[in-house]
Symmetry: C2
Subunit: 410 residues, 2 copies
């Protein structure tokens, strides 16, 4: 008799974004005329940069004739892309990487979800709370947690690092030792960043405890302020303890096109029960060559144009567009008397619900009152209760209209 992976049964029935979709659909059924504006799911609205389109067209065209056709590529990505990534995203920040430390993939969601496979099931993992649900759910599926505690809204066995108003949405070092630490900065959902000094504490902690930092930098391109690190590897010693996830999704509009990359320095080690060190880089290579077959060639051909002269300008323009949305949301909400976080170095605005309202209650009120859909903070963890996420990825027009409606109708 085939047995189920019982860890899957620990997952609560409904996934955050399915529940949102369900409520929106229900509302639309009873209010068919309502003009709903979605600032909820973190999907982009600006198209791919023309430089990427043209490079991808060329890549597709190469697949037409036997001379230029490409079959299986390297599972870890084409060198032409990896070299540009290193040259543009890391060298200017003083970070040296070798080509076999960069792994191109079909998405940071896949990579952040799959990376935990390399670790023993008995590692203690820590996440911030609120948190991007994929880190948690993938570890639940792998059996690295206990049951979900409905009262606490948290899983047993996970160390949660609260990000609250009191600590300025910046997690404190864990009180008990942990082995795997997921950090995402600029943060989804709070939109907050860590300074170099703050990140340094985490690197030091990891070095002292031989823990691994799983650093999600998917939003680094949105950093506007000087002095905020874009990569964990800007911190001395991070090469020994950190892995970094990057993505073209939010940087260049690849949410539907799919391309990302993960940095695994050769010095990062995990240990077996005899204390022997094993290279995470080699383990990830083995994982990717066995269970993945590389990102699509035309997609990689398009992604490399992100680093061309025109590509860079076009991307900057898109990011400016979204960050102007972020400013409109942030200042608009502040002007209307709401307390907001983020939106300065990130496309996410994390607002406090009025009068300590529950975040799902505020979701319903906002949808019914202003016909604006956002994401209830509780969906990101227990400490997200009482907060609400809006994203800057909408169109300018919708962003302006949404804020106007919140100001006048709520």
């Amino acid at each position: 008799m085939a047995l189920v992976n019982e860890n899957y049964l620990k997952l609560p029935g409904s996934y955050l974004f399915s529940e949102i979709a369900r409520r929106v659909n229900q509302f639309k059924t009873t209010n068919p005329q309502a003009d709903i504006i979605r600032l909820g799911i973190g999907d982009v609205t600006r198209p791919l940069p023309p430089a990427v389109i043209e490079a991808m067209q060329k890549g597709v065209e190469e697949m037409r004739s036997p001379e230029t056709f490409r079959g299986y590529g390297p599972e870890q990505g084409y060198q032409f892309l990896i070299e540009k990534i290193i040259e543009n995203d890391f060298v200017p920040r003083g970070v040296e990487l070798s080509v076999d430390e960069v792994f191109v993939s079909d998405g940071a969601k896949s990579d952040t979800a799959n990376f935990q496979e390399l670790f023993g099931v008995n590692n203690i993992m820590a996440v911030t709370d609120p948190v991007y649900p994929v880190y948690v759910d993938s570890n639940v599926m792998a059996g690295r947690t206990g049951m979900f505690n409905n009262d606490k809204g948290q899983y047993e066995g996970i160390v949660y690092l609260p990000c609250t108003e009191e600590n300025g949405m910046k997690p404190s070092l864990p009180e008990k030792r942990v082995d795997m630490i997921y950090l995402c900065f600029p943060n989804n959902p709070t939109g907050m960043t860590l300074s170099k000094e703050e990140l340094k504490l985490w690197v030091e902690y990891a070095r002292e405890n031989r823990s691994i930092l799983l650093f999600d930098a998917a939003y680094e391109a949105y950093i506007q302020e000087e002095g905020v690190p874009h990569s964990i590897f800007e911190i001395e010693g991070a090469r020994e303890v950190a892995v970094e996830f990057r993505s073209f999704s939010k940087t260049a509009g690849f949410t539907g096109t799919r391309c990302a990359y993960t940095i695994v320095p050769k010095e990062v080690m995990v240990y077996d029960s005899k204390g022997k060190a094993h290279s995470l880089n080699q383990l990830w290579l083995r994982r990717q060559t066995t269970k993945f077959n590389g990102a699509s060639y035309p997609v990689q051909a398009g992604a490399v144009a992100v680093f061309s002269q025109e590509g860079k300008l076009q991307i900057k323009e898109t990011i400016n567009y979204y960050m102007e949305n972020a400013r409109i949301i942030r200042e608009g909400l502040q002007g209307a008397g709401y307390k907001v976080f983020g939106g300065v170095n990130a496309p996410y605005i994390w607002m406090k619900t009025p009068n300590n309202m529950g975040s799902w209650e505020f979701f319903d009120q906002l949808m019914e009152g202003a016909n604006v859909v956002g994401t209830p903070g509780a969906g990101f963890g227990a400490n997200g209760e009482g907060y609400f996420r809006l994203t800057a990825f909408g169109t300018r027009e919708n962003t302006l209209r949404a804020i106007e409606r919140i100001r006048t109708r709520m």
Copy 2:
């Protein structure tokens, strides 16, 4: 201290295709003039069909403007593609599927490797021997096996189903009960198929034992003979016990473009420790929505053209091209006195090495004598020893030259 997933340490150091690459590179260093022909790794050489190129160009073009741009798609694939898959690949064979039973992905390698996650770690799995290494390695990584036994060339805890000359390369039902059974027909590496009657025995076995058949049909498009089932779902009752993996890789040249799909009927159940049934379809949906973000939109836009009038003709032409290669290899080797299997309904030819030579020894002799690279059977499992795989995916010219060289120089 971060601990490694010790199951990874059970994997022998060198992966089959890396070892081949290493030997080829060494040979090239000492023989820089050698004109090597590769009929080893199963990569295609014919370009994408023009219908696919044009559809993909159009898909890329849509990403240029905000009106037609596509961001996150459904993780399980676009309905426009799923409907065509059902209509063309299944309905004509009498197989009815609903759209939420088809999951589009970036590859059958990913799907066959990831699907085991849904099962408890204590399930007993069975594979044929020889076998596509991904089924085994992904289960080793998950901890569903014991250690590798060097003497036997097999992992402890796996039930191996020998495919030998004696049984015509057709596996017998396992003697002890197993829970998960990987079957691949047309087979990689042997190129053999199972008849409807033979497949029926497996479906009956699975129903009696509540086991799951993980059926890899990546090569079904190569079936030439009437009466050979293309899908496990042509067998009555299979909907209750089988999952099927399909791919555009070998059918339409997508090895570097990446698109595949997996069929998970709603009736297939796995059980928890209390005997309660859980739907594999729902579990896979949960897995894919949590750990995957859908195949690239332009790629799906291209894949759907495989089912257009022109697409179908163009693909037929490519498959005929490879199957003519298969005939040339099969008959050429037979004419030269070798014993061969496969190559009739599959792009793989499985040859017996002369004089019971070891398959790595034959690999070296063939490379040195004829400058032809194939794949040693031992790389596919203990029962592959004494055999050798050649693929029909080369160019016509190289295929003819390779056979001529084997005939005259070996």
